[in-house]
Symmetry: C2
């Protein structure tokens, strides 16, 4: 297996955290890695090869001009390594826009894909995750783009989670086909056609609603990048809110503190399962290569998990599955 | 005070539940009420006056034709009672579209309002609710409509919660003014202008994100009815998910069950505060009258709370505040 290129300069916590995650991944997953960044800032890589890159696209940089002007940026070099056959996948925890832009400009799109989409797996305890896409790459989408997202989402869920016929839903404001915006209605009509699903193995369950996301009703939920991103952040906010509110109650009286000592350890698996760091980040689907976009605040754990996802994507031939799914 | 008209035929649980809530409201809130529906199906109204209406718009009815064809529908008659000065407000727990349509067709719009919007208060423990609008009336919105929603939302928050200068945010996928769809960017630019806020007393805090909804960062969040409805149902789904997941853990071992006996009573205020039935339903803002739309699965409690909100709206002169807020 070709090494997985890791943008070592991305991430709010700095290179040390990324390198720590990479070292753990190299040791435990046995995958070859390639750390891309300023060698002098990486510290001891534990023998992991370094691909030098002198520039960094910061979280605050303008994405479009950053990717074009900073040709020696770590994230750009990571994408190039995939394009040039030097790496099998890229992982970045930096500026999401820069990772998308680099992957798109350096790897290019798969044939038939109008725009790549960000797919985010939402954890559903006791079941496979629900894949939400587009989680933010394209604020405005045509019905045609939504159809491609549905195809790619189904192909991804099939390959990554072994779901034979992923149930794919279109996010709307009612289950009836006539509910939603003009674009959503048009997409609904197009997704009813059997030929749309020939390449991915997915099935269309019609419109779904926000309340279906964390359930086993559906495997893939398709929406535009504006709605998808708002939904994702709403879920994050709701989880944080509930966690904090419950914690406050647990600390409110001596009896509650005592009772919590029994319950908190039992609640930890749920807390861990719902932690964005544990599910390995989002994926950019539709580019000609594997691109994993980890949370900006990524911990070493998140980097470790992202490498795991990248490895699975490569091993499972995900890019070929995606190519097949949107075949024109 | 003129009576508050209650659509007695709306709601999944049937007229008995509505009448029960109405009787409690009459007794405890001391407001005059008017139950609208089929007298023979209402049972003992405890002396509350009945306005006979022979038809019902069902949950499954097509809204547009239902409101036009069923001229003697309870929800239509309730809206007419407000228009004709026989009632001060209407409350419906039936088909949301039918309530909106009846209010719009019978009461008409306030001057300067392109389309009314549904405002839903989201509970924020320890603070005033966050008012989310449009929560589903208009799947597609222009920037001009979003500006009107912002004005009406601020006027509502000021009048209902006594917030002097409601902080109003525009829901988007990043805090920077340049983030979002074309319509959102246009609305952001328009909302920066001071004159927009002259009539409502609101202030613009710029773009906000999904994670801000359940916090004290903002008092009013404006978005199109597609995104707003998806967000609302996502929140409902997340709350249900968390409640069920935590309950499962609490019942998982004998020790957990024992510990829960201490914690559950302490958690109940939070559970009650987050229950949609307790915050009195949504409001249709922008029609020339008070229209409260309660949850379809409304309990007697929800009807009671909805009457309380209607009373506050009438007492607080909300319609005049709204009229002032969008003054052209």
């Amino acid at each position: 297996m070709l090494p997985i290129a890791i943008d070592a300069m991305g991430g709010d916590r700095g290179p040390a955290e990324i390198v720590a995650g990479a070292r753990r991944a190299a040791a435990e997953l046995g995958v070859p890695l390639l750390l891309v960044g300023r060698p002098e800032e990486l510290g001891d890589t534990g023998g992991i090869e370094v691909l030098p890159a002198t520039e960094v696209i910061e979280m605050t940089d303008d994405v479009a001009s950053g990717v074009r002007r900073k040709k020696d940026a770590s994230v750009v070099r990571a994408a190039e390594a995939v394009r040039d056959g030097r790496a099998s996948a890229m992982v970045s925890a930096g500026n999401t826009g820069a990772a998308m832009g680099s992957a798109l400009l350096r790897m290019g799109r798969l044939p038939g894909v109008t725009r790549p989409a960000i797919a985010t797996p939402l954890p559903v305890p006791g079941s496979t995750p629900t894949v939400l896409l587009d989680a933010g790459a394209n604020a405005e989408c045509t019905a045609e783009m939504l159809v491609q997202f549905a195809q790619m989402g189904a192909a991804f869920a099939a390959g990554r989670y072994g779901i034979e016929h992923p149930r794919t839903g279109l996010l709307s404001i009612g289950e009836e086909a006539g509910k939603g915006t003009g674009v959503v209605k048009e997409a609904n009509a197009a997704l009813q056609k059997a030929e749309v699903w020939a390449g991915s193995g997915g099935t269309f369950v019609g419109n779904v609603e926000g309340r279906d996301l964390l359930t086993d009703r559906v495997d893939v939920v398709v929406t535009d990048g504006f709605t998808g991103n708002v939904v994702l952040k709403t879920l994050e906010g709701a989880m944080t809110f509930m966690r904090d509110a419950i914690f406050k109650v647990m600390m409110s009286t001596p009896e509650a503190i005592e009772a919590s000592q029994v319950l908190v350890p039992l609640l930890m698996p749920l807390v861990r399962e719902m932690d964005p760091d544990s599910y390995g980040g989002a994926l950019l689907l539709g580019v000609d290569g594997v691109c994993i976009i980890s949370h900006g605040a990524s911990s070493a754990d998140a980097v470790f998990n992202a490498v795991g996802v990248a490895k699975d994507m490569v091993d499972g031939g995900l890019v070929d599955r995606l190519r097949q799914s949107v075949k024109v």
